[in-house]
Amino acid sequence: MKADKNRETRKKYITVRSFFEANRERFKLRLLNGDHGFDNQIKDRNLHRPGLALAGYVELFTFDRVQIIGNTEVNYLKSLSQEKRRSAFSKLLEFKIPCIVLTDSNVLEPEMLEEADRKHVPIFGTSFETTKISYFIADFLDDQFAPQIVLHGSFVDVYGIGVLLIGRSGIGKSEIALDLIERGHRLVADDVVNVTRKGEGILMGSGTELVKHFMEIRGLGLIDVRSMFGIRAIRFQKRVEIIVELEDWKPGQEYTRTGLDDETVPVLDVDIPHVRLPIFPGKNVTVITEVIALNYLLRHYGYDAAKELAKRLEGTIAEKKKRGDRAINYFEHDFE
């Protein structure tokens, strides 16, 4: 499997409008001045508290970030005379600030709000306290600026494990996904899987809005999994935990026989466990996929079958040196 680096995408900016519209309810944002500057671009996922800039130190002022004005800044401004207060605020607005978030239900003088409006800097008020809203906004921006890649495959939640089936066109990914759904597992996306890196080392996969939970079965056409199998057969997003690559069986090709050698594949710089599965007629890939997921679960909970058997074997070899060499020494009285 190759995940082409060039195909990764990352948003260059988001507009203040999309920031506001996506979060106005969740973050309880309220526009405090006019609706100028909604096309301002937020290009940085970090936030900034402009305390020092208000105090007059504007070197290294990261003005292009969302500015958070909290109790400290507001109290500082209050401590100044009206004239100095307004001039400190005007100085801040000389920079091209995308927008300001005023936290903890703080208020600014109407003259300052108007000044910001003239400079096309929207100010949003929220009742959340600074640390909380900073966390929310940083998480949102982190998500918005996260690298993304579109992968071709079927993505299914199998026993709570996100299994991404990949392989060449027509190898039967969708058919296996359908089989898994029929056995009670949940489809996340088929054919077009959007993968986003969340935080460090976590990949989230989802479908696209338009074709969500539709799939194509060769010879049959398009089906809608949600309306056919119901709500229990789908989910909107899932962490990508294993990649199962389906391959045509080629004699001579080597595959792992013990499962001791962990193979991973990097996707968006995250190493994901990778299982290459040769397929041929009569092989029940669905059940094998379930077993892959269960085995992953077992390992996650600290039991590695391959390592366990290896350990047992070593023990038996060591024992044998001392004892006889019959495979089974004695059948108790149970000859069923």
């Binding site: 195909r7 995408t9 993304q148 579109v150 071709h152 060449r168 066109s169 027509g170 088929d190 054919d191 077009v192 696209t208 338009l210 074709v211 539709f214 799939m215 194509e216 398009l222």
Partner: protein, 88 residues
Amino acid sequence: MVEVTVTVRNRAGMHTRPAAALVKTAARFQSEFTICKDSMEINGKSIIGVMTLAAEQGSTLDLRFEGEDEEQARDAVVSLFERGFDEQ
């Protein structure tokens, strides 16, 4: 590998019928076929993938073919786009 950029010509854009025609044509060839539009990159042999693009009239798509019959595949697909999928 061969690459080519095409424009969607027919008025209705790449709706279901042209999408089906495109994947059917692509499926006749062995080559891998990828379509890029904006930041999306999808497998051109997948109807779901092609529909995801929701390509409207006038939009440009970058096509990429890779395989033994890549040139024949390109010619067949490009001709489909040039004919506007035999629609207006």
